[in-house]
């Protein structure tokens, strides 16, 4: 029983439009400063472009656009979170990312239904850590190609 209580999971925390989000550390390869992003013509609106990361050309997605927040210019706190899932490697552009944190499994619960706006479809769970509420993302949903946008891009 006491073992159960101490169980934690490791997450990378990041901020977007004043809200704290988290991704499981196991899905995060590295954090990078945002340097040059090469725009890809006619790509989906969430795709800011491609970047060169450790010998690979990977797409960089704006999570602000993905979640429907207004775009802001990059600054020194902006980060590219390079994630890997089932052979795919993708960069997520966020306002800032500085922290790894172990969150007790007890503190993690399914997202309340009232949070169904904006990032709603991409939420996996919610964690309450002290005063803060952290939104844990479902990476597979976040990087899923938006079928509607692809059709527009090809049209």
């Amino acid at each position: 029983m006491s073992d159960e209580k101490e169980k934690t999971e490791s997450f990378v925390l990041f901020e977007l439009a004043g809200t704290t989000y988290a991704l499981p550390s196991s899905e995060v390869r590295q954090l990078e400063m945002i340097e040059h992003i090469t725009p890809v013509p006619n790509a989906a609106s969430t795709v800011e472009g491609v970047v060169y990361s450790r010998g690979q050309v990977i797409p960089a997605i704006s999570l602000r656009t993905r979640f429907g927040f207004p775009k802001v210019p990059y600054d020194i706190r902006s980060r590219l979170i390079v994630v890997g899932l089932n052979e795919r490697v993708i960069g997520l552009i966020v306002d800032s990312a500085r922290e790894f944190r172990n969150i007790p499994i007890d503190a993690i619960s399914p997202p309340p239904e009232g949070l169904a706006e904006l990032s709603g479809p991409y939420l996996e769970a919610v964690a309450n850590v002290g005063e803060n509420t952290i939104l844990i993302l479902d990476l597979a949903e976040v990087i899923k190609a938006d079928a509607r946008e692809i059709i527009i891009a090809e049209g």
Binding site: E35, H36, T38, P39, V40, P41, N42, A43, A44, T46, V47, G49, V50, V51, Y52, Q56, V57, I58, P59, I61, R88, V89, I90, I143, A145, A153, E154
Partner: protein
């Protein structure tokens, strides 16, 4: 009989020997002992591997493995609306300079005179939603032969480079008209134009 005596790697060597054929007589398509030799050399050139699995009476499997980074190519580096692109030189016949005033409009097409014939232009800036250049002259590279020739208009051809072709492996980065990407040594990615796809697009429009 033979497969009982030779292992598969040796068998593959024999099959890939120039002039080796299992046929007694050549017909229009096969029998000259050329095919497997060519396949083998093409795979070698791309630094891939080829393997043979065979069972007498059951059939044979040839497995070809090619590296993702397929090739180094000579490319033109062009600029359009402030962005750079690489154009594999293999398909480019010529680079020409065009004066803005010499472009004629025919319905939705733009045409220039080129070697005594009309050359349709594809403006990359419009296909890619980039701003048009401001100068009185712009560059265009000519692809395709004879009546198939089209000019792909850019702002400027900046130079030439030997590029390593890298795949855009994720579907989020794959768009029509772009075949891959390369890195020009400054850490920045430059997209490689898919010239055949771009010219197909023009023909569909016409």
């Amino acid at each position: 009989m033979l497969s009982g005596e030779l292992d598969e790697a040796t068998l593959l060597e024999v099959l890939s020997t120039p002039g080796f054929s299992t046929r007694d007589e050549a017909d229009k398509a096969s029998g000259r002992g050329v095919g497997m030799d060519v396949v083998r050399r093409a795979v070698d050139m791309l630094q891939g591997t080829i393997r043979l699995e065979t069972r007498a009476g059951a059939g044979s499997v040839f497995r070809i493995q090619l590296p993702l980074t397929l090739a180094i190519a000579d490319a033109l580096i062009v600029s359009v609306g402030g962005e750079r692109f690489a154009v594999p030189q293999a398909g480019v016949n010529e680079v020409i300079e065009i004066e803005k005033g010499s472009v004629r409009r025919l319905e939705n097409n733009e045409i220039v005179d080129y070697r005594g014939a009309a050359l349709p232009l594809i403006r990359l800036s419009r296909l890619f939603g980039l701003p048009d250049g401001h100068g009185n002259f712009f560059h265009s590279f000519v692809v395709g032969e004879g009546k198939q020739a089209v000019g792909i208009a850019v702002d400027r051809v900046i130079g030439q480079a030997e590029i390593v072709i890298r795949a855009l492996s994720d579907s989020l980065a794959q768009v029509p008209g772009i075949s891959g990407a390369t890195e020009l040594g400054d850490g920045r990615i430059v997209l490689i134009l898919d010239v055949p796809a771009l010219t197909r697009r023009l023909r569909q429009v016409i």
